[in-house]
């Protein structure tokens, strides 16, 4: 069924509105539902819909499929556009410029004004972060059958684990 509001996208959400004390049912796509102030139903990705809705202006140009993926977790711009989720905290540094533009549209600001966090907790062990990165890259290399890189990565992981 097509969305009863825009008539363009597929309807995904049934919105029940109360008008003149009568319930009225509208079948909407997630984008129109979001614009009507309805949070998308569980399982859908409002952020992905928002990116799609922003279309050429933010979706396509900002999160260009051809760009490099986050080097820590391997999340690419395309992954983010599809799921609306980032892969790891480092993604915010990797997609810094694009996210700044996106956040201004979503929140009206990109500058955090709330609590300032100064970690008194023991920092994540940098060696552990590096090991975790290498393991992740190894998994990906095996996935895409890049066995040459996989062998190098395996060596690097061995070197790191033997030292510690």
């Amino acid at each position: 069924m097509d969305c009863e509001n825009c008539g363009e996208r597929k309807a995904k959400i049934t919105l029940t509105e109360i008008e003149n004390n009568e319930m009225r049912t509208l079948n909407l796509c997630s984008t129109c539902a979001t614009l009507k102030g309805v949070s998308a139903a569980a399982g859908s990705a409002p952020m992905a819909d928002l990116l799609a809705h922003l279309g050429g202006s933010a979706g396509d140009t900002l999160f260009d499929e051809a760009g490099e993926a986050c080097e820590y977790c391997g999340t690419g711009a395309g992954d983010f556009r599809r799921s609306g989720r980032l892969g790891c905290p480092q993604c915010y540094a990797h997609f810094h410029r694009q996210l700044r533009a996106l956040l201004r549209r979503v929140h009206g600001s990109s500058q955090h004004m709330g609590k300032v966090y100064v970690s008194t907790a023991p920092d994540a062990d940098p060696e552990q972060v590096r090991l975790s990165t290498l393991k992740r890259r190894l998994e990906r290399a095996v996935e895409i059958e890049d066995f040459e890189s996989a062998a190098d990565l395996r060596d690097a992981i061995h070197a790191l684990t033997e030292v510690s």
Binding site: T16, E19, C88, L102, H107, H112, M113, P122, D123
Partner: protein, 369 residues
């Protein structure tokens, strides 16, 4: 190394808030605040390996056990709970559907829940974000709820290294939560605005003020029992106190509109209103089969009747408890067996009759007709 940690039984966790007769408790059922937090050095939960999620779960467990504000705390690994217990937590809104997974897949590895035994304060582990700190208070108490949660956040943040960015604030899996990571909401009963046909105008007006709403309990956004959840939409660019304050003032105005609408109804259509309330009371006292949605719609009539002093009993907190205990997983626990739909409806009707009979003297009419 000790053996696997014990799985504590689910007791009255999360129910204390309902006994509170909080401010504006006849209109605002509860106030809730949550904070999304992630730890440095790990991928976000959906992206992390099962091994990483389990490592994170253990860190979270150790951190919650060391906090002061949670006092006595219970910690569950969701995978160790059976399906009935998971649904019990879901019906109390202590876990999300995402955390407990579908009946087919079950929860993801490393999903957990920490909860104080004394208050509805705790956190989900490995939901969309590593940590979702959350608290619930009865009635309209956003500021108090925030104070509890802020303290928990300080304690957890001192033990686990949060992912924090100078410009973007607390980093979250979805950019809609970044910054403060704060989502505050109230669960509010607005029959007056629905009956006087003003609800749309009010809700749409809120949409322009950075606040969003949805119906609760229904499929998708269906409205059941004239209950709505109103929450802040943006999380970045304002302080936590400003976000809470803004929502609080807005909800305060909605409460004002609701009271005006009720006054209009009492003045213009007292017979219709009284009939609605008493009819709801009559059906709930005598029905032999009650589907959940029907019960919720009828309880809306009773809650309105209590608030307008058309009914002398039961008290509002009795209604709050019924809304929890008359859900299927809770009924099944009381029955000690699985209930199919027809069984559940019959069991619910019987539970409601008893709850209404036990909790107060027979209601009297406010005035003679």
């Amino acid at each position: 190394m000790d053996g696997p940690a014990a799985t504590p039984p689910i007791g009255t966790h999360g129910l204390e808030a309902l006994d509170e007769d909080g401010p504006d408790g006849d209109i605002v059922v509860s106030s809730r605040v949550r904070l999304a937090r992630n730890l440095q050095g790990y991928s976000f939960s959906a992206h992390a390996t099962g091994e990483e999620r389990e490592a994170l779960l253990e860190k979270a467990r150790a951190a919650t056990e060391a906090t002061g504000v949670l006092e006595e705390v219970d910690f569950w690994e969701i995978a160790r709970l059976d399906r009935e217990d998971r649904l019990l937590l879901l019906e109390r809104r202590l876990v999300s559907k995402e955390l407990i997974g579908t009946p087919e897949t079950g929860p993801r590895r490393g999903s957990g829940l920490a909860l104080s035994r004394a208050h509805a304060l705790g956190m989900m582990v490995n939901e969309e974000d590593h940590l979702r700190l959350q608290t619930l208070r009865g009635g309209f108490q956003l500021v108090a709820a925030w104070r509890d949660l802020d303290q928990l956040d300080e304690e957890i943040g001192a033990r686990l290294p949060y992912a924090f960015h100078q410009e973007f604030g607390f980093l979250t899996s979805c950019p809609t939560n970044v910054g403060t990571g704060l989502r505050a909401s109230v669960f509010i009963h607005l029959p007056g605005l629905v009956l006087t046909r003003q609800i749309r105008k009010v809700l749409e007006g809120m949409g322009q003020l950075g606040v969003t709403y949805r119906g609760l309990y229904g499929e998708g956004s269906r409205i059941v029992g004239n209950l709505f959840q109103i929450s802040n939409q943006t999380t970045l660019g304002k302080t936590e106190e400003d976000l809470i304050d803004q929502l609080e003032r807005l909800v305060g105005r909605v409460i004002g509109y609701e009271k005006q609408a009720r006054a209009v109804l009492l003045r213009e259509a007292p017979n219709v209103l009284e009939d609605k309330v008493w009819r709801a009371y009559g059906i709930l006292c005598h029905a032999r089969s009650l589907p959940f949605e029907e019960m919720m719609n009828l309880l809306s009539g009773i809650r309105l009747g209590i608030s307008l002093k058309l009914l002398k009993s039961p008290r509002v907190d009795v209604i709050n408890r019924m809304m929890i205990h008359a859900q299927t997983a809770h009924l099944a626990r009381a029955a000690g067996r699985r209930l199919d739909e027809a069984d559940a409806d019959a069991f619910r009707a019987s539970y409601v009759r008893k709850a209404l009979a036990a909790r107060g003297e027979p209601p009297r009419q406010r005035r003679e007709r």
